[in-house]
């Protein structure tokens, strides 16, 4: 195993011990690691229900991750926010702002200086009073008529809110905005796809190709305060399956970007999927790791990507350190000198159908434990499909934003993987993983969902130490926090939040 003491050395810079869960991923490192250790590998088997909360109305599936600040737990579904007592699960307030737009998911809230912020199906950023749930303002971040929506809350960086955008319809272009938390005023905007003539536009064949957009920013990024850099993954280019009309690498889609937090200027980029032609976006968590790489202490960034590759970068410079594959695929010819996969044009979608194999992960968030040096990922291994380039052959000659079609053949094997960040090697694997988020703790535990259960595993070995079946797999990512000497773990299954704790600590 990795030597835990060495890994831990430099971890303090981005990892602060906290008893609550104040932001979507607990802190801004994307690690989803809690320093709490009341619940341990030894006692987790005694975990028992502490409370559960099922909203009286409005909730379909809770896909959001709760945030806990000052003893109050906030969670969302599209158009709705609830505040509940984090120790008892009793409702304090409920806010509803009906809107029209895509409601596939809402991932949660941000809390800053007594205010709660969340995004809506009609692409508004809404600010509420944290104590009452009263709306203070709602400001559009994009135009819903074009298919934009907000599924993620903003990320609080210093005195700014960093807003990403969702949308996978029409010619939408992704962006990040820095917003004034008092007024909703936009302070800077960075767009994923450049304008013609700007840096990056040389990777597109024409202005028209650029106008199709892409690169949405629908999974929350991370932030390094010492470097003052914001890190974010971007989505796929458009048309999704038709690469012939956009020859080139199509920057900055399917990319990991580092932006100066004050100005929004691009400092470096790395492209996990140059010239993507099958929706292998790179929006997945960008996880900050401080530790050793080949004998040297490094400030790093890791991503287990939707294309089945694990990437490790130097997060100060963007220098590529390591690329490994965590599942079979048949579309890559290998790596270029930057460590980015080289797509095989022969495996692009074609009029007669292309037999495609892929592996990867997606929006459900991974976790990194500095104690083990392992990045834990719920992945899907060996998916088969036929991909078609349709150009004009469907819907009476009307081409669309997809540019193609895909017939599913074989769904692949979902599995929880423990990846050694220094080598990319799979240290252990548990089959039948779920599309659910992951949490690790200083108690040596990994919380997630597997098969039909909510589970706690020993993060060193992958051995199950606790499991409970409350009616299905988790629909969100687990969190943990401590209140009045009791550590809670909270997960959602369908329309209900479930809190667990050790009986003797309550």
């Amino acid at each position: 195993m990795t030597k835990p003491t060495i890994v831990l050395l430099a971890a303090a810079a981005v990892l602060q011990a906290q008893s609550e869960w104040p932001s979507l991923n607990g802190d801004l490192s994307g690690r989803r690691y809690s320093t709490l250790k009341q619940i341990t590998v030894q006692n987790a088997a005694q975990l028992a229900p502490a409370w559960q909360f099922k909203p009286a109305s409005g909730a379909s599936v809770i896909k959001g991750t709760p945030v806990v600040v000052d003893g109050v737990l906030y969670f969302t579904v599209p158009d709705h926010v609830w505040a509940v007592n984090a120790a008892t699960g009793k409702e304090m307030w409920h806010f509803n702002r009906p809107s029209r737009g895509d409601r596939i998911a809402n991932r949660g809230v941000a809390v800053y200086k007594g205010k709660v912020y969340f995004g809506t199906p009609d692409a508004h950023l809404v600010c509420l009073r944290a104590d009452t749930g009263q709306q203070l303002w709602a400001v559009p971040m994009a135009d819903v008529h074009f298919g934009y929506y907000m599924s993620n809350p903003p990320m609080v960086v210093g005195d700014k809110l960093i807003v990403g955008i969702s949308g996978d319809a029409g010619d939408v272009t992704g962006f990040l905005k820095a917003v004034d938390p008092d007024t909703g005023k936009v302070l800077w905007t960075w767009t994923s796809v450049p304008k013609w003539g700007e840096p990056g536009s040389e990777t597109w064949p024409s202005q028209e190709a650029l106008l199709h957009g892409g690169g949405t920013t629908w999974v929350q990024g991370s932030y390094d305060p010492a470097l003052n850099l914001i890190y974010w993954g971007t989505g796929n280019p458009h048309p999704v399956l038709n690469g012939r009309d956009r020859v080139g690498s199509n920057l900055y889609t399917c990319s990991i970007v580092a932006l100066n937090a004050d100005t929004g200027k691009l400092v470096w980029y790395f492209q996990p999927s140059p010239h993507d032609t099958t929706d292998r976006d790179a929006t997945e968590s960008v996880v900050l790791i401080d530790g050793i790489f080949r004998g040297q202490p490094r400030k790093m960034l890791a991503q287990a990507s939707r294309n089945g590759y694990f990437f490790l970068l130097d997060r100060k410079t963007g220098e590529h350190l390591l690329t490994t594959s965590f599942g079979p695929q048949n579309w890559s010819l290998g790596l270029n000198k930057r460590g980015e996969p080289i797509p095989d044009a022969k495996k692009d979608p074609s009029p007669a159908g292309t037999l495609l194999q892929g592996s990867g992960t997606n929006w459900w968030v991974p976790s990194f434990s500095p104690a083990t040096g392992l990045l834990y990922v719920n992945a899907n291994i060996g998916v088969w499909s036929l991909t078609y380039l349709t150009n004009g052959a469907v819907q009476g000659g009307l081409d669309d934003h997809q540019g193609g079609r895909e017939s599913a053949l074989s769904p692949g094997d979902p599995a929880l993987l423990a990846l050694d960040y220094q080598t990319g090697e799979v240290r252990w694997k548990v089959g039948y993983g779920n599309p659910a988020g992951i949490l690790t703790t200083a108690g040596g535990l990994l919380f997630t969902s597997n098969s039909n259960y909510l589970v706690a595993l020993d993060q060193t070995t992958g051995k199950t130490v606790w499991k409970t079946n409350v009616g299905g797999p988790a629909s969100n990512a687990p969190i943990t926090y401590e209140l009045a000497g009791c550590q809670y773990v909270v997960m959602a299954v369908r329309d209900t939040l479930y809190a667990f704790a050790l009986p003797e600590s309550r």
């Binding site: 599936v61 737009g101 074009f146 007669a352 159908g353 349709t390 081409d399 199950t464 629909s475």
Partner: protein, 276 residues
């Protein structure tokens, strides 16, 4: 509203096809609740198909020359799919005003269409925008043209069938596959010869520590549980306490997937297409 196409599109989005089956279960629970209000267009979904067709003819005649028949624009006229005025026009008045007055400064003439004609044109434009905004690729439609698929060599496909593919071990072109090409739309046939829909369930033999063996239809197999139906009665075991031997009727098809080249796929399709 009737346009409840939302659940499937939502279910298929944002993850590769692999998670589709698993997640559909989750999403279906939610679908009725968020089917309402999921549209971002300013107008009702699913315009009247006859109005759309009349509008298409009118649009092609009057507008397509500059805006392209599919609204994506030409050198002479802008892309209307990306036009804010089109997307935000909840009652059709904005489009009506532009059509009637033209935009002389930009070289767009006025058109004196009747109310009915204009209504049809607007229906077509809305339909085109909705089609363009396709959220998920999904499988090709059943009428996907055969000539796009028929690029392989039937003789090479036959050789694959009897040789490398080992298909003849289980299948016969004069037996179970006789007339197969008549039974399915071509694009469906192509996907299904690669991976058929299972007609028989998976079965398993569970070996207990006691030495007892339980065989039957496999209902559950995951990290923790195994359930087989033995003589009509489901029996569940802890997965880590038993040995499980699974018989999957699709195992040969799954094992064959990595062995196909794209040429093999197209040749096999060309061969199966001869089985009319």
């Amino acid at each position: 509203m009737g346009g409840v196409t939302v659940p499937t599109t939502v279910a298929e989005r944002h993850y590769y096809s692999g998670m589709k089956i698993r997640l559909l279960v989750l999403v279906c629970v939610a679908a009725p609740l968020f089917a309402q209000g999921n549209r971002w267009w300013a107008w009702p979904a699913d315009p009247d198909p006859q109005a759309v067709e009349r509008g298409r003819v009118q649009f092609v005649t009057s507008c397509g020359g500059c805006h392209a028949d599919n609204l994506t624009g030409t050198a002479k006229g802008p892309n209307l799919i990306r036009t804010s005025r089109v997307r935000k026009d909840a009652d059709g008045s904005a489009i009506t005003a532009v059509v009637h007055a033209g935009i002389p400064a930009k070289g767009m003439p006025s058109f004196q269409l009747g109310d009915g004609e204009l209504k049809d044109v607007i229906a077509y434009m809305r339909w085109a925008v909705q089609k363009y905004d396709r959220v998920s690729p999904g499988a090709p439609p059943d009428d996907y043209p055969i000539e796009r698929l028929l690029v392989g060599n039937a003789a090479a496909g036959k050789a694959f069938f009897n040789g490398k593919g080992n298909c003849a071990v289980c299948h016969s072109v004069t037996g179970d596959l006789a007339g197969i090409a008549k039974k399915y739309p071509p694009v469906f046939l192509q996907a299904r010869f690669l991976m058929p829909r299972a007609t028989k369930p998976r079965t398993a033999t569970v070996s207990l520590r006691s030495g007892e063996k339980v065989s039957g239809e496999l209902k559950v197999l995951n990290t923790y549980d195994v359930t087989v139906v033995d003589g009509g009665k489901p029996r569940t075991f802890a997965a880590d306490e038993v040995q499980v031997e699974v018989k999957d009727p699709l195992a040969a098809h799954k094992a064959l997937l990595p062995k196909y080249s794209d040429d093999d796929v197209h040749n096999m399709f060309a061969y199966l297409w001869t089985l009319q």
